[in-house]
Symmetry: C2
Subunit: 318 residues, 2 copies
């Protein structure tokens, strides 16, 4: 197969690319390197079946031409920063909704009709049903990020009905692991590296979080694409456990051998639009035979080990 991966230089994208190449596939990535890194492609670049295009999803001609002769699109490019949505309200709309439309139109121009999409558990807003299944009650959006991904899902589903596309839509919990470059664990590690005696925590530390290790996430996506062949295939991807922010702090501090004073900003949520509890019911993907190989604790340790060996990543975010 010849895969086209938007955001292929990003955290999840580059891990997926390595996996697809290892399976003997050809991969073209399309990335503007706004949040992805060339360093994430060092392994892929050694493979003759890999090619990369430095391109923007708003350069529609370039996007359309780049997609030529591919079979299947992984659309992973996105603004993945949930937290700062209200500081630049148009960013999610452009990068997650309109960009997805551009990908769909480029596919249509190339007679491509299979797409996998990285959505998010944030589309459930603050669900009253926890753990939240894919067919939870019609959600009310609480973040611009969630709203923009929901809009992307809607466009993709409408293209399935209107243009005979087939889609795999994945609603992720937070993903952790090698090449992880934002979120709680990254922030805490970064803080403790600079000041091992103090840790500032948004919220009261009791926000419940669910994480999935990136290789487990990739296993799940590939399993779903292989085994589920409906017109629109929607899957929650997460583990069957969750932790509090305080748990992750304890694991991180133990691993690093530090004992900081913890300063909480207080309140049930870390920031406006932060969901105090995203925990997904993943029975549907598990019914296909997939299960995560790593616990949240193990995923966090693997993430820390990666960050310890790749300090350059920290510098890029300062």
């Amino acid at each position: 197969m010849n895969y086209f991966v938007t955001g292929g230089a990003g955290f999840i994208g580059s891990n997926l690319v390595d996996r697809l190449l290892a399976q003997g596939n050809s991969v073209i990535i399309y990335d503007n390197f706004s949040t992805g890194f060339p360093e994430f492609l060092l392994n892929a670049r050694k493979n003759k079946n890999f090619s990369e295009i430095n391109g923007d999803l708003f350069d529609i001609d370039h996007l359309t031409k780049s997609m030529k002769d591919t079979d299947f699109v992984f659309h992973l490019a996105a603004n993945a920063d949930v937290r700062f949505g209200t500081e630049h309200p148009s960013k999610d709309l452009h990068q997650n909704t309109i960009a997805t439309f551009n990908v769909l139109e480029a596919m249509r121009a190339n007679s491509l009709n299979q797409i996998a999409f990285s959505s998010t558990g944030s589309v459930y807003g603050e669900s009253e049903v926890i753990p939240t299944p894919e067919d939870a009650p019609f959600p009310v959006q609480t973040s611009l990020y969630g709203a923009s991904k929901l809009a992307g899902e809607g466009l993709i589903s409408a293209y399935c009905e209107g243009f005979g596309f087939r889609s795999w839509i994945f609603r992720f919990v937070s993903i952790l692991g090698e090449r992880y470059t934002h979120g709680h664990v990254f922030d805490f590690y970064n803080q403790l590296l600079d000041y091992p005696d103090r840790l500032d925590v948004l919220g009261n530390g009791h926000q419940k979080k669910s994480y999935l290790y990136v290789q487990d996430c990739i296993d799940a996506m590939l399993c779903a694409i292989q085994k589920s062949q409906e017109k629109v295939n929607i899957f929650n991807l997460g583990t069957s456990e969750y932790c509090e922010v305080n748990d992750s702090i304890n694991w991180i501090c133990t691993h690093l051998g530090v004992n900081p004073d913890i300063h909480y900003t207080g309140g049930e949520r870390g920031w406006i639009g932060d969901n105090p509890f995203i925990f997904l019911n993943c029975h549907k993907i598990r019914s296909l035979g997939w299960k995560p190989k790593y616990s949240i604790n193990e995923g966090i340790i693997k993430t820390l080990e990666y960050l310890e060996k790749n300090q350059w990543v920290l510098e890029t975010r300062k």
Copy 2:
């Protein structure tokens, strides 16, 4: 109150404007007259509390300035043509999603925070729960129109959480009545006026449809805004009855005194993305004391009477 009504020269918009003026309010409409008609404003123009702005929702400066000194926004401007979505896939995205974003940003620039929005029962896709309540299982979109309105809902809800807005989101069935200018009844009347002996019908005629008379619709919106004061107030608006396309054909033919040969294109749905059965559970709005004054049959007759007296409307759509 000083109301700002986008799409105020349209079918529902102009009827709402007349009502708001009759209640003694001031109204500014903002419309580009792409599908609205100056003729719909003949009554409003006699009122000193009415003003109209010929403007486009993509002229953000104009929109922002026009909204100054108003209190409450009815955002009714939209591409309301569900059927031809796949012929111009960007139209719904632009006119229903991005335009809604522009309205929200113009509100924010003016420190306005109350918005009512015309959404649609199409956001439920093909729900397995019928009649469909507001908290039906998380829907899968089946039309670009539904997807674009769902995206608009999501943006509005996220602005409520992120920027302290309050919203009233109305999921309409098809609306009928004075100034109705598209949809089944309009098409059938139009056909029968030209050729009383023949009627061409998309689908098999058994598609079930739910209609609401426009004055009942306006009653419901104003009732909800007055009595429901949550952060995000979502209401289905419809009647507790539905009809088949064939029922509406019978009522129309009886009213017109014609007996045409009926030619069906066949199939369960009239066109790609047409939902064979939209029927909304309206318990929520009825619990506030609202109920429709007119049946579907009566709404259709009122629509025909309007069209008979306003043949110019038919000409504009040819």
